[in-house]
């Protein structure tokens, strides 16, 4: 589903490569933790998958797309099949919960009819049916992240990329989000989650890919966060 082949990424402003000859292969339906300290290259890896960046060397594949070689006009198609959530939720503050989810469908050209059926479905999936008309400012952090997840899933992506989705949440709320991500994964969506959260990684016992200074340090099928450094 996702494949990086000997990928290096060097930013023009930095002497050290952000990623250095990294190869990773993720099967459809897997749940993968991407761990490593700040600056280890986790975000760069996610950005390469989304074609926010192109690799300096190596190839990136998502499903059947050769991501680095994809013509610009086809990038939207790629991104429609990839859901994204972030530490800071990135909701539109002037739109209600339902409208935030609808936004992803609207700007990708889905019909009124599709929007009317998919939005309630997504809100039900993330357990926010009663809060469709709330504004983002009225939500707790956990609720806001669930709206972001509903939006990311609205276009039925093949892969969900989550960049520190629990970074702004307390442990209990984090557990709820992890239960939700686990449920989404069990329903068939591949999940790649970058995180710093030792407890979560140790509790889930899923595949762990660790980056250190841009190099692949570890790839365990059922890993833990690892020894304290």
């Amino acid at each position: 589903m996702l494949r990086l082949e000997n990928v290096s990424k060097i930013y023009p402003t930095s002497a050290r490569p952000a990623l250095d000859d990294v190869s990773v292969d993720v099967e459809a339906g897997e749940f993968v933790f991407l761990i490593g300290p700040s600056g280890s290259g986790k975000s760069t890896l996610l950005r390469l998958l989304l074609r926010e960046e192109t690799p300096t060397r190596g190839s990136v594949y998502v499903a059947n797309w050769n991501v680095a070689r994809l013509p610009n006009r086809k990038v939207p198609k790629l991104r429609q099949r990839m859901g994204c959530v972030f530490q800071d939720f990135r909701l539109l503050p002037t739109r209600s919960v339902a409208d935030n989810v609808a936004f992803a469908l609207e700007v990708t050209g889905k019909s009124e009819h599709t929007i009317r059926t998919v939005v309630p479905e997504m809100l039900e999936l993330v357990n926010l049916t009663g809060k469709a008309d709330r504004m983002p400012a009225e939500l707790s952090g956990g609720e806001a992240q669930r709206v972001a997840i509903a939006r990311a899933l609205a276009n039925r992506p093949l892969v969900l990329l989550a960049d520190e989705p629990t970074g702004n949440l307390d442990p209990e709320t984090s557990d709820d989000i992890m239960l939700l991500l686990d449920r989404i994964n069990r329903a068939g969506t591949t999940v790649v989650m970058a995180t710093h959260d030792r407890q979560i990684v140790d509790a889930m016992r899923r595949r762990v890919v660790e980056l250190h200074l841009g190099r692949l340090a570890r790839d365990d099928a059922r890993g833990v966060y690892g020894a304290r450094r």
Binding site: R73, L92, F103, V107, T108
Partner: protein, 301 residues
């Protein structure tokens, strides 16, 4: 179409979010297009005036006193010789003879009731050969060729006499176009700046759009529509300005006794059917082009 509604709503929301800038943009565009329109009307008036004059203007070959005297039909050998030579000239379209008496009658008609009539006798006026040319700009050649012929008093190219008028109208046109282009530059910069501000204000929204896989249609076209609306509204305001200018300025100016027969009036159809559609098309196209270039240069797709 689903996306059309979205793009339109976003564009209108963009214009409303920044009302002061939108109004400044539209007014600047309007003034620029108004100047352009005035210039176009001047060009049209010049063309019409030239048509009006050039159809009537001729090169007048005035005959000297002995040749003019007592010759009602160009029967004298000198007159006939000149007429034949003129008719044989490849530049000449036609030659008509006006005798001294006919000239005097015309003079009486033109200046009826004025004191100058007391001073003029038929003898003061020459008989003339009126020469119309195939190309009215080639009068010089006839002047040169025939001025020194025997029996000729002088040769006058009437076109020379009205050239000052065209020089004046031409400078009106040039001034209008000059102001239009300076103002157009200001309008372009304003449109470009407004799009940048607009894109910056909406960066979160556009960022999310890009993330969920919105195509350029959704991320960029709203900004283009914003610019095009500005251009079209500017053109409509400019047309309104030109209509007012015509009614309260041009019409009064050209209705003066002296000038009313010299310059043809500017018609309402010239403003509404000729200039207005041009301004709308030019306004829309230039605004869209500015928007496109701005997005290319300053806004990440």
């Amino acid at each position: 179409m689903n996306g059309l509604g979205f793009v339109w709503r976003e564009a209108v929301a963009g214009l409303r979010r920044n009302v002061t800038m939108s109004v400044a943009m539209m007014l600047t565009t309007a003034i620029s297009l108004g100047m352009l329109g005035a210039g176009l009307l001047a060009v049209r008036t010049i063309d019409r005036t030239q048509d009006l004059y050039y159809s009537q203007l001729a090169v007048q070959v005035a005959l000297d006193e002995p040749t003019s005297a007592g010759d009602p039909d160009c029967g004298s050998p000198v007159c006939r010789g000149l007429r034949d030579q003129l008719q044989a000239d490849p530049l000449v379209a036609g030659v008509t003879y006006e005798s001294r008496d006919a000239a005097f009658q015309r003079f009486l008609r033109i200046y009826a009731g004025q004191s100058i009539l007391q001073l003029v006798r038929p003898q003061s006026l020459p008989a003339t050969l009126r020469v119309t040319l195939k190309d009215p700009t080639r009068g010089d050649a006839i002047v040169q060729e025939f001025s020194t012929r025997p029996g000729v008093r002088n040769v006058v190219d009437q076109r020379r006499l009205v050239e000052d008028l065209f020089t004046f109208l031409g400078s009106v046109r040039n001034a209008a176009f000059g102001l239009a282009s300076v103002q157009a530059l200001a309008a372009l910069l304003l449109i470009s700046n407004t799009i940048q501000v607009s894109a910056f204000t909406r960066r979160t929204e556009v960022g999310i759009m890009r993330l969920v896989g919105a195509t350029r249609w959704y991320t960029q076209v709203p900004f283009l529509i914003e610019a095009v609306i500005t251009g079209v509204v500017g053109a409509i305001l400019a047309t309104g300005g030109l209509v007012l200018g015509k009614l309260f300025f041009i019409d009064r100016l050209l209705s003066g006794r002296l000038i009313s027969n010299a310059i043809p009036a500017v018609g309402m159809s010239d403003v509404l059917l000729f200039v207005a559609p041009l301004l709308i098309v030019i306004g829309a196209v230039i605004a869209a082009a500015t928007g496109y270039v701005t997005l290319r240069l300053y806004v990440r797709s």
